[in-house]
């Protein structure tokens, strides 16, 4: 009896301990997670911070001093370059280790390893589109360059020094939640980060949905609805800029080709609203007589922030700005002499080639009048709790065949034709070198030299210097193509469809010190149609660019604060362009009480998307419903995805062709015009607002538009929670659906450079840190903080709270 009792008691105890150590589904192992010795309680950082800290680290060559300011931004002073990038790696890992891990896992298709089969789709997609293949090629390019090899290796060493000394209780909380351990960093992970940026900024595609449009409506309609240059535009390189080079011969397009294979794996759609602003104004327009540069890259806003602020100083370099955790050097920032920033170009650097295979085995494809063999790449995907998945990807001269019918197609197994992906991010490159050189640059010539090394994703590099130069260059490796090559799926059998080399770097569009006294970009068309080469047929809508150019054009005696005001500007050019016409067509005599109230609100609206604006809510809802009602009957197709005409084309239709057949709803017997669609969508918009938010008077834009900064893995409780904010995708302050200014920076050049900036979050990636979200309130208020740019480790500042000394 005693034995039975003892046995049961022991069995229950052991079972309990086992259960507390084990992860069930998405619930973390409760004992591991809750016990205060190694569980999450250990991640609760104390409010009391030591003023001085010393660490001995293996691998350092000299001594490194790290000064942390009141926002826990590190100011790193090293005695040599090795130690500088070593310290950058070490310090970044201390604050952002889980981010480093999860970004790499996502890019390299290794999420399933830690979260199981639910991530298999996205892993497989990343493997099959060639993320690993591209990263391997990029790594080759970086390692060929002795300088960059040393930088990347030192950075890697720094991260690994931190990882190796980490005990279980110090693991970032996300590791404890998902129940896995950090692993060592590898140089290729730096390349993975670049691939991830390429995927975000240049990995979207609409070739398939455009080809479907072409097949459904024919060339005439397609050309009419999807023009190669918008009605409204204010291009990055000012109209009238002379192209002082002799262009290469433009490749000739082959005979017309229409792809037939219209099924496909769902790629990421192109997302409108992922964009950015940057500009620089010349000293002739500023109060100080020296240029001012501004940049706010719009990306997914998350905790931790995509950016990490740093000052990096060693003999030969002293630079301040934001870094991407996972890559050495400052990406956007300034030094004593120059400042630079980036926005996305949106160049067409991703194309689909339709292949004709010899037989079902798909081992040979037709190209240049002969059969060519594919090569095979094996992708092994580890899955938690399941056997590994071995995936074979066929590679052609263009790139990988992403869509493999036999394995992935549903109901299309009989179609022996796949598409090969050609993507600039597959190529060998040495992009980080550009930032390495910019960090050390001191004038315009250095800027131009640095840009040569940059491959992808193509960026508009804005520049200003203390020498009173300003410039902007849509830059990257841009393929030499015939016009519209890649607007649709391309015939992969005809060599005329190859990329015929690249636009020479010197002939990428660029402008220096234009007469208007400023340069700017907001992802709109790089140039007007006089530029000899084809970059893309579509860019982001022009509204942000237009507003920036209007404001900068009018500005005199500008200060850093004028730039801040412009960065947070919410004036709607779209409303300015079309609202008067929309109102003109609306018949007030047919409106009920609420609708009349809404109309009154609109008439009084100042066209700013402020958080407390009701007019913004009415306009945004009305326009969105109008846009959808216009195209829905023709462009919603359950059988195949169709690309929808742009906002710009829709505006043009409304302004110039209100009786166009496109406004007629095919599902009704009547023949509708723009007036009918406007009237119906206005009523629906008002009804919708009342249903969701109550009577007029409760429709503040900040309430209607939900906005929050989420945790990177969307863990509830780890985000900011919903908050009211102004702005929308088409205003300069482009806050929409979790995207927005992920870093706002303004730099006043001159004898004494002054930088201002703010992150929508904090430096620390730890939800248990006081520096996890400490900068968010300032960012929400639309304010900037003066950045602390120290000239030496000895420089005194009341803002320095902690000094960390690293030595061997």
């Amino acid at each position: 009896m005693k034995i039975v009792k003892a046995f049961f008691s022991l069995a229950i105890t052991l079972a309990l301990i086992w259960a507390l150590q084990t992860k069930f589904g998405d619930i973390p192992p409760i004992g591991k997670f809750l016990n205060p010795a190694t569980g999450f309680w250990q991640n609760a950082e104390s409010k009391n911070i030591n003023a001085a800290e010393q660490l001995k680290l293996k691998g350092l060559q000299g001594e490194v001093t790290v000064k942390y300011d009141e926002n826990r931004i590190p100011h790193i002073f090293a005695e040599n370059e090795h130690d500088l990038y070593y310290a950058q790696g070490y310090i970044t890992a201390r604050d952002r280790l889980w981010q480093l891990d999860i970004q790499t896992r996502s890019a390299s298709g290794r999420l399933s390893e830690v979260v199981g089969a639910k991530a298999l789709d996205v892993d497989r997609y990343h493997r099959r589109m060639g993320m690993v293949y591209g990263a391997e090629n990029t790594l080759k390019g970086m390692m060929k360059d002795p300088v960059m090899r040393a930088v990347v290796n030192a950075y890697t060493e720094g991260i690994n020094t931190y990882v190796r000394q980490l005990s279980k209780k110090d693991y970032p909380i996300e590791f404890k939640l998902l129940d896995y351990a950090p692993e060592e960093w590898k140089p290729i992970n730096c390349a993975f980060l670049l691939k991830l940026m390429s995927e975000t900024l240049a990995g979207g595609t609409n070739e398939l949905s455009m080809t479907n449009v072409l097949n459904k409506f024919g060339a005439k309609v397609t050309n009419d609805l999807f023009p190669d240059y918008p009605m409204h535009e204010s291009p990055i390189i000012p109209v009238g800029t002379k192209w002082d080079f002799k262009p290469l011969p433009i490749p000739a397009p082959p005979a017309a080709f229409k792809a037939q294979m219209l099924t496909g794996m769902k790629m990421k759609d192109r997302v409108e609203g992922i964009g950015s602003n940057n500009w620089a104004i010349s000293g002739s327009k500023t109060a100080s007589g020296y240029p001012i540069l501004a940049n706010d890259p719009h990306l997914d806003l998350t905790f931790p922030s995509i950016w990490y602020q740093m000052q990096l100083s060693a003999p030969g370099v002293n630079v301040y700005g934001v870094t991407l955790p996972g890559a050495p050097c400052v990406v956007i920032g300034y030094n004593k002499k120059i400042s630079w920033g980036v926005t996305n170009v949106d160049a067409d650097i991703l194309d689909w080639y339709q292949l004709k295979f010899k037989d079902e085995s798909r081992n040979e494809y037709w190209y240049n009048n002969q059969w060519n063999k594919v090569t095979y790449r094996i992708e092994k995907i580890a899955i938690k709790g399941q056997p590994d998945l071995i995936d074979t990807v066929r590679y052609t001269r263009f790139g990988p065949m992403v869509y493999d019918n036999a394995k992935m197609g549903e109901g299309h197994d009989n179609i022996p034709i796949g598409n090969a992906l050609k993507w600039i991010a597959h190529d060998e490159s040495n992009d980080i070198k550009t930032f390495y050189l910019l960090n050390r640059g001191s004038n315009y010539a250095d800027y131009r030299e640095a840009l040569k090394f940059y491959n992808a994703p193509a960026q508009n590099f804005v520049f200003a210097s203390a020498d009173n130069d300003i410039a902007i260059t849509p830059n990257g490796r841009l393929p030499l193509k015939y016009k519209d090559q890649g607007k649709f799926i391309i015939d992969g059998s005809d060599p005329a469809n190859d990329w015929q080399g690249f636009i020479p770097f010197e002939q990428n569009p660029t402008v220096k010190n234009p007469p208007r006294g400023f340069v700017s970009s907001a992802n709109q068309s790089s140039t007007d149609p006089t530029y000899p080469y084809y970059i893309n047929w579509q860019f982001a809508p022009y509204e942000r660019g237009k507003r920036i150019n209007d404001r900068l054009g009018a500005m005199q005696k500008a200060t850093a604060d004028s730039m801040r005001v412009l960065q947070t500007d919410t004036y709607s050019i779209r409303a300015q362009d079309i609202l008067p016409t929309m109102l003109k067509y609306l018949d007030a005599s047919k409106l009920d009480e609420n609708q009349l109230a809404a109309l009154e609100i609109l008439k009084k609206w100042d066209k700013f998307f402020d958080a407390d604006s009701e007019g913004a809510s009415v306009f945004a809802n009305w326009w969105t419903r109008f846009y959808r009602a216009t195209w829905n009957d023709n462009f919603s197709d359950k059988q195949m995805p169709l690309n929808w005409p742009s906002m710009d084309r829709t505006e043009e239709l409304l302004l110039k062709e209100p009786n166009s057949a496109w406004f007629d709803n095919k599902k009704t017997p009547m023949k509708e015009t723009a007036t009918d669609v406007l009237s119906r969508s206005f009523n629906l918009a008002v009804d919708g607002l009342i249903k969701k938010h109550g009577k007029p008077g409760n429709w503040q834009w900040g309430k209607v538009k939900k906005f929050e900064v989420r945790h990177l893995a969307n863990i509830p409780g780890f985000g900011s929670g919903n908050f009211a904010s102004g702005g929308t995708g088409s205003t300069v302050n482009a806050l929409t659906e979790g995207h927005g200014p992920s870093w706002r920076m303004v730099v006043q050049l001159g004898p004494q450079v002054k930088g201002y900036g703010i992150l929508p979050g904090g430096q620390s990636g730890n939800p248990g840190s006081f520096f996890y979200d400490d900068m968010l309130p300032t960012w929400k208020d639309g304010k900037l903080k003066e950045l602390l740019y120290l000239q030496s480790p000895a420089e005194k500042s009341a803002r320095i709270k902690t000094t960390l000394t690293l030595s061997k």
Binding site: K2, I3, T13, I17, L20, P36, T38, G717, F718
Partner: protein
């Protein structure tokens, strides 16, 4: 006496050993000092529970409970003190069961 020993061992071991080491120690302590089932269980419960309470409070007070509050939201609990309560109850339960097992095993070998 048993309670004091388990409490002490649980706190010391937390800094150097995995959390379940405290269960083995509670087991061992009850093996030595256990008298009745009730005494053993509640000593283990209070010993480990109080140790976990103290260790958690030591971390969360200087943190102004910001992390505990976020974790409470993650578990959809209205207040961080509930996370603390669950932590203490789980520590107590596993500590109590360990000590009880220690006592019952001891009894097998008695007489």
């Amino acid at each position: 006496m048993l309670l004091a020993l388990i409490l002490l061992l649980a706190i010391i071991s937390a800094y150097i050993l995995p959390w379940w080491a405290a269960c083995i120690l509670a087991f061992g302590a009850a093996l030595l000092l256990g008298k009745t089932s009730k005494q053993a269980f509640w000593s283990g419960f209070a010993g480990l529970g109080l140790a976990w309470l103290a260790l958690a409070l030591l971390k969360t007070f200087p943190n102004e409970n910001i992390l505990a509050t976020r974790v409470a939201q993650m578990f959809q609990l209205p207040h961080w003190t509930l996370v603390l309560l669950i932590t203490v109850l789980i520590g107590g339960l596993v500590g109590g069961m360990s000590a009880l097992s220690g006592l019952l095993v001891k009894r097998v070998f008695e007489k």
